[in-house]
């Protein structure tokens, strides 16, 4: 089904893509086969068909996850000249300190002046739950405008305002007319979607509806939208080699950068979980082509990704030269790393498409990857382009992953999962699971910088980082000998991380 920008609230991922958060039936190939791509169906099957072969497990025991609002908060407060208003009781804003840490460190990493991120909470109380919070919302938007003179204000809704039914859309429009800058409501009530990645879609939906220029006057033939997360800017130099300019969004972007997304020659990303909605909608609504290629991980993936960009922007010749140069530079170093990393086993645990990419890089380095945990699974991405089948690409290029699991970042399951494969180290991106690995004596490589493993240089980066992380083993082994886990013996002896879920349906 096509993307629908007419409603203020985005359709959730489970509705659009058939996203699941729990699956444990064996190999990566099996999951790929059960997903939409392998059936050659592409988009347009209509709701109710997509992902219908996937059987989702539901466990009675769950630990805290994350929510769409949390994602929106990170994304919106990272837009440099905008301010985020969190329309919620104070607890939703409790993520601000963590968010600010990410923001400040990313600014430093990108060589920009370090400062605090900007977000205001409407700080709703019991009274507002009963009488509604719209007035407070409008006052807070005005206050945000007075204080910071932003180019746009984003509003993140919350479970509480969703339940009491505040008319946020109207409230936003009224203040927008008054202050004359876009006031963008982003509907991201945590309870609405089981997976936090709906938050990416929600903020992108808002940006597409209210910020991106509807009728771009001119096309910028050398501008490429790159949908990123916080990380080093590896793109600008890479694209400069091809004579292109990178429009990095949303992280640390300006409103002007977001406006001109419709003028770009193409849109691309390193992570299709993140960019699925944005790139498909930009193509559908603004005619900006989505780059249809595997993600840029490992030699083959990066080659294909760059070539697809080259085709879309008519830069084949320079691109081929760049690819050849990079291969010549990187291959010998990778050979050396393969030698040093020989015999190691790694385990990957992170967001779906990013994990698909990182497994490819690990295998490029000769590391055995017998197991992977992804925090959700999209059977298809919004555009439905088969070239973007990241899981299929992983299996085809580097072989199957024997123990492939979809699970929504559950601490208790991670124990059983690690018992299955007993890796030397773990590559991870989200918080929460590494401490458990640590208590089992396993070091974790934290991919805090999302740009770290991508492209040709990414293979080198990851290899070098693994060598560094293995050194931490002593710390973790010492800890393992002196700590306990809060789980019952019966659970620690359990081989099946989904035993409870399976028992519930049996």
């Amino acid at each position: 089904m096509a993307i629908n920008l007419r409603t203020a609230a985005v359709e959730t991922r489970e509705q659009r893509l058939g996203t699941i958060t729990a699956w444990d039936e064996g190999t990566a190939a099996k999951l790929a086969e059960q997903s939409e791509y392998s059936r050659g169906c592409g988009a347009g099957c209509g709701v109710g068909n997509k992902g219908s072969k996937l059987c989702e497990l539901e466990s009675p025991f769950t630990q805290g996850g994350s929510c769409a609002e949390q994602v929106v908060q990170g994304q919106a407060s990272g837009i440099l000249d905008a301010v985020l208003v969190q329309h919620s009781p104070i607890g939703c804003a409790a993520n601000q300190p963590m968010n600010n840490t990410n923001f400040r460190n990313t600014l430093a990493r990108r060589g920009m002046a370090v400062r605090n991120s900007l977000a205001l909470s409407t700080n709703l109380t019991e009274r507002d739950m009963v009488y509604g919070g719209v007035e407070k919302l409008q006052e807070t938007i005005r206050e945000a405008y007075r204080r910071h003179n932003p180019k746009a204000v984003f509003i993140a809704t919350s479970c509480a305002t969703g339940i009491i039914g505040d008319d946020v859309e109207t409230a936003a429009r009224e203040v927008q007319e008054e202050i004359g800058i876009p006031v963008v409501p982003v509907f991201c009530e945590g309870f609405k979607s089981k997976h936090w990645s709906t938050g990416f879609d929600a903020i992108q939906h808002g940006v597409l509806r209210q910020i991106v220029k509807k009728n771009p006057g001119k096309k910028q033939e050398d501008l490429v939208n790159i949908i990123i997360l916080s990380g080093t800017d590896v793109y600008t130099p890479m694209l400069a080699e091809l004579g292109l300019r990178a429009n990095l969004v949303l992280n640390l972007a300006t409103i002007e950068q977001l406006e001109q997304m419709s003028e770009a020659a193409a849109s691309v990303s390193f992570c299709y979980t993140l960019a699925s909605y944005f790139t498909a909608a930009l193509e559908q609504e603004f005619g900006v082509p989505e780059i249809k290629a595997p993600q840029p991980y490992g030699f083959a993936g990066t080659d294909a990704w760059l070539r697809a960009i080259a085709r879309a922007t008519n830069r084949e010749e320079v691109t081929e030269a760049y690819i050849a140069r990079e291969h010549a530079r990187v291959r010998p170093i990778v050979e050396e790393l393969r030698e040093q990393l020989k015999g190691l086993t790694g385990y990957v645990a992170m967001g779906a498409s990013f994990a698909h990419g990182v497994v490819v890089v690990l295998r490029e380095l000769g590391i055995d990857v017998p197991g992977t945990l992804v925090f959700h699974h999209d059977p298809v991405y919004d555009s439905g382009a088969p070239e973007r089948d990241t899981l299929g690409h992983l299996v085809e290029e580097t072989g199957d992953v024997e123990n492939f699991t979809v699970g929504i970042r559950q601490h208790y399951q991670f124990y059983n999962l690690l018992q299955r494969v007993n890796p030397d180290f773990i590559v991870i991106r989200h918080g929460g699971l590494s401490p458990l690995a640590s208590r089992l004596g396993k070091p974790s490589l934290q991919l805090g910088d999302a740009s770290f493993p991508l492209g040709y240089q990414g293979i080198i980066n990851l290899g070098a980082e693994i060598l560094a992380v293995l050194g931490q083993k002593k710390f973790h082994e010492d800890l393992a000998a002196h700590s306990s886990l809060p789980y019952r013996r019966s659970w620690l002896d359990e081989k099946d991380p989904f035993a409870l879920a399976r028992a519930a349906v049996a």
């Binding site: 609230a9 109710g48 008319d167 009224e174």
Partner: protein, 291 residues
């Protein structure tokens, strides 16, 4: 996709006032006249469309939502009399959960899946439980959903209170592009006195009576068969009343902002009528005794 604009109408009324009966008869009359109609029940009881489907209950949008991780709105749409698309929002059992949120969710789901456009509808009629108790129940009158609101009311004071509450809701949303009031559908109008009360209320709140609908045995008989009057007794006088009502609603274009009475005004107004009522009863008592 056709260029025609679907006309969306919300009909509110206090529980038990005959709101679903009236709505279903309007839908049936419109369908009879050749329009493509959807009736969307917004009441946790999920029985708005029963008489359009032979008295049969249909699974609600929220029933589906509670069973499945992903809902195809088509699965909650059922064909009723005259090709009317019947949808029930549904909701929780009494005393648990949040019925208001349920309505928001159900309406949003159909909008996101562009059902109204896809079915190329002429009319969507929301049948809404009508005290406007929280944000959720006001969803159909917010901007972008219904344009016109009608309220079903009898001359009973509790029904009028509910109508007055609805008017407050409309006043609130009217500044922000929400629905406006088409008028009052005066139900169970059997005496002149009933008419006088409801006429007076309409005058006080600066609105109009769209139609007087008398209480009728025909309606009860039709309902017992699980049918609307339009279907069960198309040639009855009551069916003519509903057809006239449907026609007026179909032709209706200009809705207004009502002037809801404040609590004091409402109290004084009802007290005034109560005095008259007592006076009339006394008079008839005296007449009986004299006779």
């Amino acid at each position: 996709m056709s260029a025609k604009k679907t006309k969306q109408i919300a009909i509110y009324g206090k529980g038990g006032i005959g709101k679903s009966t009236t709505t279903s008869n309007i839908s049936a009359a419109l369908a009879d006249a050749g329009y493509k109609v959807m009736q969307f029940g917004c009441d946790p009881k999920a029985d708005s469309t029963n008489t359009l489907r032979g008295g049969e209950y249909i699974p609600s949008v929220l029933d589906l939502l509670s069973e499945k991780r992903r809902v195809d709105a088509h699965e909650a749409i059922f064909l009723g009399f005259g090709g009317i698309y019947c949808v029930e929002a549904g909701g929780p059992a009494p005393g648990v959960g949040c019925a208001g949120r349920g309505i928001i969710t159900a309406v949003e789901l159909l909008k996101q899946q562009r059902i109204f456009e896809e079915l190329d509808l002429d009319y969507v009629i929301y049948d809404v439980l009508g005290d406007v108790v929280c944000g959720g129940f006001a969803v159909p009158i917010r901007e972008g959903i219904a344009e016109h609101v009608f309220t079903v009311s009898s001359a009973d004071f509790m029904a009028i209170y509910a109508a007055n509450n609805l008017f407050k809701g409309i006043e609130k949303y009217s500044n922000s592009g929400g629905a406006l009031l088409g008028g009052i559908i005066a139900n169970s109008m059997n005496t002149d006195f009933h008419r006088e009360i409801i006429d007076d209320f309409a005058a006080r709140t600066k609105t109009q009576i769209v139609q007087y609908v008398p209480r009728s045995l025909t309606v009860t008989q039709a309902e017992l068969q699980g049918k609307t009057t339009i279907e069960a007794a198309p040639d009855s006088a009551q069916a003519d009343v509903y057809r006239a009502l449907a026609k007026r609603i179909a032709e209706h274009t200009d809705s207004k902002v009502p002037t809801a009475l404040n609590p004091k005004e409402l109290r004084e107004w009802s007290a005034g009528w109560a005095d008259q009522l007592i006076e009339i009863e006394r008079a008839s008592e005296r007449a009986r005794v004299a006779a």
